[in-house]
Symmetry: C2
Subunit: 652 residues, 2 copies
């Protein structure tokens, strides 16, 4: 078992593909972790904005959460229809592309891609942030912790989605159970105490308000709270990962996610109001998260508190995983349409779109490094991408129903139109109220990504047009190529090169470039004895030895010049440049060699012109098991020196 | 003029090499900057150790500097002899190798290499440190400033040493002049005031002593002060850069450097004593360098002060340049002896050993990053390397004189033995007194570098033994190779590949790997019409089409397996794998392509076995000026499609 298999798992054959599929019970953690984890930062984000109102702030949380809950239900009904209409995966990109055209679809894809990348960065840094507030001595290592966690997630996801699902099921349900119990106990206490429960551990006192309530403030609080809605679109995009019946599985999963999320958000809103819990200023001494205050107030700081907090941390960290499930799938669709490099469409040995996973991971890492692992500032960017994608998708569905022959199309149209309008309006609110705080970056990223998609596609089209042909192959009656063999001296490596050269053409030019005037004179001196004589005797054509002088101590340029001249002199022939190469058995031995051969091959390919063909003739320092020696039926073994002596394994 | 030429200068032909040589006047700045700049940090380092003695500390500076001055003169006389004996460059490595053998020589080389790298890091960070204490708002950007300066120095040195010498002459002489005037005026005031001059700007009061004077303390102060001696060996190593008569030029340069240095150090010691100047605690508020206090006390804080301080800063920064002159030369010698990769021995287009320059720069950058641009801590490591190299070199000379027939050999032997003993004793003092503070790192680095040198050499020996041959070339009567052409479909790229394949062998196998079962069926369907028919009609051999299935969605492994099977079935033939490649005209377009071709070529070379040869057949998206089209005299132009349509230049 190789290191690769230990890390990434054994390759999965094509015919076992179906077994990697999941049902609703696994679907909720795999595709819903992101949405559910929002319960931990959505209310917190809204309350942080309301902080300036002092103790009065938490009164406004209820209405805000209520609006968000309504939005969530609207979005759920919209997406149910999307799932049914697109059992092959109805991500915003696909729905928009099919119904509104390529350009809006690419905008939706860009928005969604931004959302996924931000989700990874925000979730990881929120998780690590929570961990650090529990263990303050880890504070200086925040960024390395974030990056380590990211690396771990990347690894897990490169192994494949089912294994990933297993890993995430337990923490998700633990999170839901703990928070559910807390809210249930809290609500029971709230009711039984006649609306004035006594906190077990009282939350910190809220400071006096420093501002009056205003519509602008409430809008900003609502926009922040909307981060609680991110992640819901994941299910409609991920329909293909469900086992049959796919549509039902996906719809149930969506309903489960939205149901749990609404209950959690509602419970948090009620209890914050009941216990007078508000946000504490983030990034300052005495900071304590809203959920930590809430659990403490309801259940005290015992074992249950620790377990609940631990499950919140875990889920926050892992919620990044939703993006790992969906971002590569989005990229694959874009790649299949030619809007991204083909590598994104290529499923790796574990049936995972590895390029997408790695690119997501790198982009998130860049964000984490750029923001030093503290992503408070990223939250405003977050909602823009998500809501833009929602809106495109819903209006795509509206366009679809307008053209549809389906009897209930009119009914469906109304549902999607309501959904699209609601999310579109929310998008406007978020964009306006968060523009200065960072949402402007989304308006920079989305057009740039759009441009990237368009440019890529245009390039592929250009190449395709240039190389495509349907006609029969053209017959070229060219003579054998002129073979140029660059060499310094006649060692076994060069000898093998010449031997091969003579099997493909009678016209071989051995070219020596003398970079230093003093070196290499013995090649010409011994050429007759060592090359001409034996070949003539065997009645074979003899290679010509050409010596080039280099004025600037360079090898590549004079050779390139010679090859070009040769090409010009023989316009009707291919010029094959054969580079003899020593193959070492350890990669690091390559550091010891001058890389003239590699450079030469590159320059010939890029600058050589259409007649040039480049040949690499390897010579193995440690000869593989099946030696060429016996193979070539020459009177004496040709490569005896190489196979007879075996270099010590630990020679360096 | 290309960007490369703007940055690095035009290439210099071999026959202009002599013009790059220098005389003593340029030699002092180019090879002595390092030694001279030590005047700025040697006394400072000693006084910092003496700080615990309070105001009494500066009394001990005089004797310490006196010992150092004597050592300097001893070393100078020793090196005069080395220069005369080794006009081709008598660095510690060469002298030790010739007289004491390879192993001690490699130890000396390792010590010297460490010294050079540390010098770059310490000099740059000392310079930037001084700049930052003048302009405190640059403080947060210390590391970027260090790295920027390092990059600038690297660039200057990649251009070549004469240009570099020009750049450094003015600041060095300005530094010497300013400091000389300060010391002269100071000594005049000192004498005329009867030993009690009144400072223009009084230096900060020294704190009360916190420790009694002890031998250990004085030893540590001396060891720190010894950094003032680093850099002196540079001249003997750099003899070849002098123009004829080399030896005289180098000896004069050495005498000039040591003379100036002794005068500067002596002057500083006298005036520190006279004005009661001590060190201030480094890295704390109120820090002021000794030279700054001294210039202020003698001349006040006028224009002269500013010019002097500026020249000190400049020289500190630039003293790193000595290492840039000598480190690459040391590496070249090691490389010529096979102890370092050949790349170090290769002079670039500007007659500079570019690899050495770049490696030095990278190692210094790593040190700067690791220590955050603050290299106070590195000073202890510094002296160990320098004194170890001194000592090896002197004892090497002793061994030489013992075998010498030269009439005055005995006299010379005594001089070098005194030099070697003095520096050896100093090395012991430095190593012992600074071991815990960081000198242990030298004792880690030097053996590691030694091991690297030995391992490299052993590997080269192994390879050389394996590939070297003197016998006549063996004649191989193999048939034309079997050519394998991997292709997905028959576009113009693949067509050119097939066309070339047919010119070198009648046995061509076109191999299609179907990674996804659904794709690529049309190749087999159209093979007869598009390939077989036209070739048969022309009476040419017809390539065979082989379709391979891939279970794990991979392309490379099945191909490799097929090629190996072919090799086993035809043990008497070469197997040439021809990879058709699309050559784009912009490097970034390569991001868009799947790199299966590159991976395939690599795997074939490394794993294919001794019968395999790899051929790259390029097809140019933008056809170069001399199109193959007209060239190949086929009935109709072969590559019409490619040259007829020219893709838009700004296609992406």
């Amino acid at each position: 078992m190789s290191l690769r298999e230990v890390l990434f798992g054994k390759p999965i054959p094509n015919d076992e593909a179906e077994e990697e599929k999941i049902g609703p019970l696994t679907g909720i953690p795999v595709l819903g972790l992101d949405a559910l984890a929002s319960a931990a930062y959505g209310p917190e984000a809204a309350l942080t904005v309301l902080l300036v109102l002092g103790a009065g702030g938490s009164h406004y949380l209820g209405p805000i959460i209520a609006i968000i809950a309504v939005l969530l239900l609207i979005v759920q009904f919209s997406y149910r229809q999307t799932i049914a209409a697109y059992p092959g995966g109805g991500g915003s990109y696909l729905v928009t592309r099919d119904n509104l055209g390529t350009k809006p679809a690419l905008l939706a894809a860009a928005a969604l891609a931004l959302d996924y990348v931000l989700n990874v960065a925000v979730a990881i840094s929120a998780g690590v942030g929570a961990l650090v507030s529990a263990l303050p001595r880890l504070l200086p290592h925040m960024l390395p912790l974030c990056l380590g966690l990211l690396a771990l997630l990347t690894l897990v996801n490169l192994r494949g989605i089912r294994t990933a699902g297993m890993l995430f099921t337990l923490p998700t349900y633990l999170f839901v159970a703990c928070l559910g119990v807390t809210l249930l106990v809290g609500v029971v206490k709230f009711v039984s105490s006649g609306g004035h429960p006594v906190p077990v551990v009282p939350p910190p006192h809220l400071p006096a308000g420093t501002a009056a309530v205003s519509l602008w403030l409430l809008m900003r609080a609502f926009a922040s709270g909307c981060t609680a809605m991110t992640g819901v679109e994941a299910v409609s995009d991920g329909v293909p990962v469900f086992r049959q019946p796919r549509v039902r599985g996906a719809q149930r999963t969506l309903a489960g996610i939205v149901g749990i999320l609404v209950v959690l958000l509602g419970g948090v809103a009620v209890l914050c109001h009941a216990y007078g819990i508000g946000a504490t200023p983030p990034g300052q001494a005495g900071f304590q998260s809203v959920l930590s205050q809430l659990v403490g107030a309801v259940a005290g700081r015992g074992v249950f508190y620790s377990v609940t907090i631990a499950s919140i941390l875990t889920v926050l960290c892992l919620s990044a995983n939703t993006s790992f499930a969906d971002f590569p799938r989005l990229c694959r669709m874009l790649a299949l349409d030619g809007h991204l490099p083909t590598a994104f469409a290529h499923a790796g040995p574990r049936l995972v779109f590895s390029t997408g996973v790695i690119v997501l991971s790198l982009m998130a890492a860049a964000l984490l490094v750029a923001f030093g692992g503290v992503t408070d500032h990223l939250i405003p960017l977050f909602a823009v991408g998500a809501f833009a994608a929602f809106t495109f998708s819903q209006f795509g569905m509206v366009a679809r129903w307008r053209k549809s022959q389906e009897p209930r199309a009119r009914h469906f149209l109304v549902v999607n139109a309501i959904g699209g309008t609601a999310t579109g309006l929310t998008l406007c609110v978020v964009a306006v109220s968060k523009f200065a705080e960072g949402a402007w970056m989304s308006f920079l990223f989305i057009p740039l990504a759009f441009l990237l998609f368009r440019t890529t596609r245009r390039h592929y089209d250009t190449v395709e047009k240039a190389i495509e042909t349907e006609r029969p192959m053209r017959v070229v009656r060219a003579a054998a190529p002129l073979v140029v063999v660059p060499l310094k001296r006649l060692d076994l490596v060069a000898e093998k090169g010449l031997q091969f050269a003579l099997t493909i053409s009678p016209d071989v030019h051995a070219v020596q470039v003398r970079a230093q005037p003093e070196e290499g004179g013995e090649l010409r001196a011994s050429w007759k004895r060592r090359v001409e004589a034996p070949l003539k005797e065997a009645g074979l054509p003899v290679p010509e030895l050409v010596v080039l002088r280099s004025t600037y101590r360079q090898v590549v340029d004079p050779l390139l010049g010679y090859v070009r001249k040769l090409a010009a002199a023989h316009p009707d022939r291919f010029i094959a440049v054969l580079v003899p190469e020593l193959i070492e058995h350890r990669w690091y031995h390559y550091l010891l060699h001058s890389h003239t051969a590699t450079l030469l091959k590159m320059m010939l390919l890029f600058r050589g012109g259409p007649q040039i063909v480049v040949i690499s003739a390897p010579w193995f320092l440690r000869e593989p098991k099946h030696p060429f020696t016996r193979a070539l039926r020459s009177p004496r073994p040709s490569f005896k020196a190489s196979s007879a002596r075996k270099p010590a394994p630990g020679s360096s």
